[in-house]
Symmetry: D3
Subunit: 160 residues, 6 copies
């Protein structure tokens, strides 16, 4: 059941970190997805790199994983968390020159890891942009969205 106001703002409308003192740590998982669409030439260069040596897609995967660990440093009101797992998968789409990015993050903590999963997917996409930008500057990142979350008081969520 969604609340009716922005939880990060207090009654004076000031941004603050929410107090999670009273919450018990529970197992939480979040999955997010993003994608990057590019020209066929750029797609082929990235994808071929992967088949040969793995460094193009591997670099983006690692960047996403490392970014998940920096989430509380990037998103001002996020709580620091000791992540249990971060996984980033990048798969070439079959219907277009596009890479689909899926990030899964899990934790045993007092707050969810939606932002960590969304950050991992976003930074993996940005890194693919960086890898291929000499070939194509018109690449489009997104839509970036939460796929599912489980655990925590607000209940489970599954993108319909």
């Amino acid at each position: 059941m969604p609340e009716d106001r922005l939880t990060h703002l207090n009654e004076q409308g000031e941004a603050n970190m929410v107090d999670v003192s009273g919450k018990a740590p529970t197992k939480r998982v979040a999955k997010a997805q993003s994608s990057i669409t590019m020209t066929q030439a750029a797609f082929d260069a990235v994808n071929q790199g992967d088949l040969k040596k793995g460094d193009a897609l591997g670099t983006a995967r690692l960047a996403g994983i490392m970014a998940a660990k920096k989430t509380s440093d990037l998103i001002p009101l996020c709580h620091p968390l000791m992540l249990n797992k971060v996984e980033v998968e990048i798969t070439p789409a079959s219907d277009a020159p596009r890479f689909d990015i899926n990030a899964t993050v899990s934790v045993e903590g007092k707050t969810g890891v939606e932002m960590e999963a969304l950050t991992a997917a976003s930074v993996a996409a940005l890194t693919l942009y960086d890898m291929a930008k000499a070939l194509d500057k018109a690449m489009v990142i997104g839509p970036t969205e939460l796929v599912a979350k489980s655990g925590g008081k607000s209940g489970d969520y599954q993108r319909s």
Copy 2:
């Protein structure tokens, strides 16, 4: 004129930071955009917050600006740069419950600031997601894309 291979990979397909030793520092500007679409209720809560106290949109703007300064720490092969300016604008769209994000970054350096502008726009969008996620988990971020760049050997670019 785009090159025909991924510039961050060497001939063995290994990822490396490109050598910019021979390049002279020039004035470079990049503009990127992103957006976040949400329910009308979430949109109203974020937007009203802004009219009253500014903290919801202001927090996202600041997060974007600070993220631009972390770009070389987030994107593995980006060069560190002394940015001259970072500006993030977030405007409520008139045709839908959506916030449009525009980031402009400039530098006098040896490499462009496309990644810094894209990172600023992405992290501002992620922060808005974080601010409003108690109200709406189905928010959609993106498309995130480069709007324009100027300066540097590869010439100017303007999204058509």
Copy 3:
């Protein structure tokens, strides 16, 4: 009951992180305060900014919150902690052109959060200095001090 030596130094006088292995995590809260005194003109500019758009004081508040999360990176011998809450309040003083800063940090951990609260208050003050320094370079930050702490073996503390 205060100890009679510097706990961060070992018997050879060498600085080290204290071992907290044997301590159980308990609920701990710390409150710190700082202030920044400036000319009436600078005060008015900052304060008016707040009434209109909130960005001057809001930026300082956010900077303080984010700095609390970086405390173990800034203070060499601090333990990393998963903070439950950080709150920074900045209020215009009534008796002088001065902003008073109050930071509250809570955690469920093995060490206290005095340093996190003091760091949050200090960086919020530094950020206000940065915002107003074109108007007044003679601004004075402080006194910065611990207001109260609770939890932990060393007992509660309340500034008298």
Copy 4:
């Protein structure tokens, strides 16, 4: 000649990094000071540590130096700078149980280093608080203030 508005806020009152594109890099120096006052017992413990092994004051000096390098990460609208020098001196006061902290930072850049000097002095003081807090929780940090700056369009400043 001070300006009449907050330079970090644009005409809409929104916080942004100032554009320094048009400015030429010049030699700039800033000096800041802070202090920390404590009980005689805490003062003796810190000071004796220094005479013997140097680690108490040495740790605070290093923390200040390293913090100067993190200034643009801590203060949201500060430009990243390649500092030429950071020096932190901590001297025991003769008239009271107090340590005086002086920080000097220099750069050849487009913006001044007042914030870097103030940050170095503040974090050195915070670190001394951390070192001695088991002995005295009522220590007082500050006043923290700019002592002098030179270089840049706004001219030199010397605290009177």
Copy 5:
């Protein structure tokens, strides 16, 4: 009993953070060692500095301690951990102009702290190199190795 494949790679050979969700936090300790060998003149300068004021070796010790806290930021697939203790000892060798570095890290967590101990020892050695490099560029760091670990499912380890 060692496993027969690289645990950080999944079945497709892709690097990912291992999932530690099912593991219970236990007390874990790791000890690592490194060393740096240099000319007698450089050794004397570093060592004398220590006897007098402590700053050369003290700086390296602190750098090692702070680096341990950054391990999950440096090593891409390391989990973030709330370290209980980091201790770095640097001792002049008696048989050669060499400093021996021992780092001990402990945690109550789901993964071991071998990497934290190895990182602390390595960065302490690198910092000594930095301190003495004007005197001797041919200094040799290492061997760097794990001395012992205890705790965790994989059992204890003691270097033979």
Copy 6:
């Protein structure tokens, strides 16, 4: 011509960042090497991973590159630098189960990049340790040493 004292210590033996204000930026290059020796089984697992998918060695290469950019954050008295290039090569040795790591860093700056090259090589080695530690805990890192440097007032250096 080496100097006769530790340049990072002042006359009182206190550690400080050296002042490079008077130095002109010049082209500087540094090369460093490290290695990691392991059991044949661990070596085969890492190396095979590379032939198939590249992620084991690729992860270590990226970690080294990213660490070079963090050098001034890790080594307390290092100046921040805008690196022109970082390259890390990891090659399987032919005479033993060992990986040899070579890092090359270049900059146009006021100080050399020896520490950046040594840091890149060290962190690449540490990352390989992390990748293979489930197979072999007795791996040995090093010797880690400077191979060559050019540029700067102190002249060129070539390991003999």
